[in-house]
């Protein structure tokens, strides 16, 4: 299906309204505009390309079905991002139910080796140029657990407050604060190339 020139210049609000009336071309234009952002959010949480593609596809299908529930309280892109985040969290929860809890997972709440770690004084943004820093951050995110990565993504990239994160992750604000704190400390150690063995 090809969209016409008028749709590519229409605002998101106009396209949403047209899509609500059944205009698939308008919805396709919305998908084209926001697909990379939605995929990027799914990938940052799942760290797997195929899963991220599947979940972002599912998010678009759900957003079509729920268009009448979008009231403009946020931008359309943000609204679909919330849908894909919830889908990712559902998927992560399903995986967690299938695994037995490991020592590493218990450390997420209590901090593990980061509890004793002295403050990292190296500032990673000083040493690295932008492209290198992005790669390093991406590699560091890869090494975090799902819970640590999720809370960082929601707070640092989605700018959610503690209570919104708690609602999204279905946990208490205290758990959010604990996970966020230890996720940040772990990131600091990874960005400074500190091996955890050195901290014992």
């Amino acid at each position: 299906m090809k969209t016409d020139a008028s749709q590519s210049s229409a605002s998101d609000e106009q396209l949403v309204e047209a899509a609500r009336q059944g205009d698939m071309g308008a919805f396709e234009e919305l998908v084209a505009r926001h697909r990379d952002k939605i995929y990027a959010r799914a990938f940052s949480m799942m760290r797997n390309e195929d899963e991220a593609v599947d979940l972002s596809q599912e998010a678009w299908v759900q957003s079509w079905q729920r268009l009448n529930q979008f009231h403009g309280e946020s931008s359309f892109g943000t609204w679909v991002t919330r849908i894909v985040i919830n889908l990712c969290l559902d998927q992560l929860r399903k995986r967690k139910r299938q695994r037995t809890e490991s020592i590493e997972e218990m450390d997420e709440e209590t901090g593990g080796v980061e509890r004793q770690m002295p403050a990292v004084t190296v500032n990673p943004t000083e040493r690295l140029e932008r492209g290198e820093l992005r790669k390093k951050i991406d590699a560091a995110l890869e090494k975090l657990s799902h819970e640590h990565r999720t809370v960082l993504v929601l707070h640092e990239f989605e700018d959610l407050e503690y209570k919104e994160i708690a609602r999204t992750m279905d946990c208490s604000i205290g758990t959010v604060m604990s996970r966020l704190f230890y996720a940040r400390r772990k990131m600091a150690a990874l960005l400074a190339d500190l091996k955890t063995e050195e901290l014992r």
Partner: protein
């Protein structure tokens, strides 16, 4: 420094402290170098993350990705709009129960014997892959009714690179 203090420092950084507590944290920072060092670390990590998320793009063409979404929307809307049936009671009432029930049972048996594979009125495409290492993308072109299924090796780093799926080509 205990956990409660560390979390308070974090909340101060994130602007999540309850009203009136910021002044107390500022006084604490002025006299405690360990607290200042920890705050600096949290600030550095924040600054590193802010605006440095890796830019990733969806690894599928616009048309291909859209075709899968469109197909799934179509499939789900067909499943949702099954025709409604008139109330049996409105038509027949209690007196029609025996012949109508017998008629229905015979029809069901006949349908099963005539078409054992057709459990539902709507055809639902199926796909099964023999290995967890394989994946598939489905694309449907509405104009000519063509369904394309692209099979790929999940373990390959790039899907356009050389594939380790079983060889299909080579002449007889």
């Amino acid at each position: 420094m205990n956990e409660e203090a560390q979390f308070k420092l974090q909340a101060y950084l994130d602007g999540e402290l309850p009203a009136g507590e910021s002044a107390g944290v500022q006084e604490w920072l002025a006299r405690d170098p360990e607290a200042r060092a920890l705050l600096a670390e949290l600030q550095n990590t924040n600054a590193a993350l802010a605006g440095h998320e890796a830019e990733v793009k969806l690894p599928e063409t616009r048309d291909f990705f859209w075709s899968k979404i469109e197909r799934e929307i179509g499939r789900q809307s067909v499943a949702a709009t099954a025709p409604s049936r008139k109330s049996f009671w409105a038509r027949w009432g209690w007196r029609g129960l025996v012949p109508a029930g017998g008629f229905a049972a015979v029809c069901l048996l006949a349908l099963h014997l005539a078409n054992p594979g057709a459990a539902s009125a709507e055809f639902v495409p199926e796909l099964e892959l023999a290995s967890d290492d394989m994946g598939a993308y489905t694309y449907r072109n509405q104009e000519d009714g063509l369904t394309m299924i692209w099979l790929y090796d999940r373990s390959s780093a790039a899907q356009s690179a050389q594939s380790s799926t079983p060889a299909i080509l080579a002449s007889k």
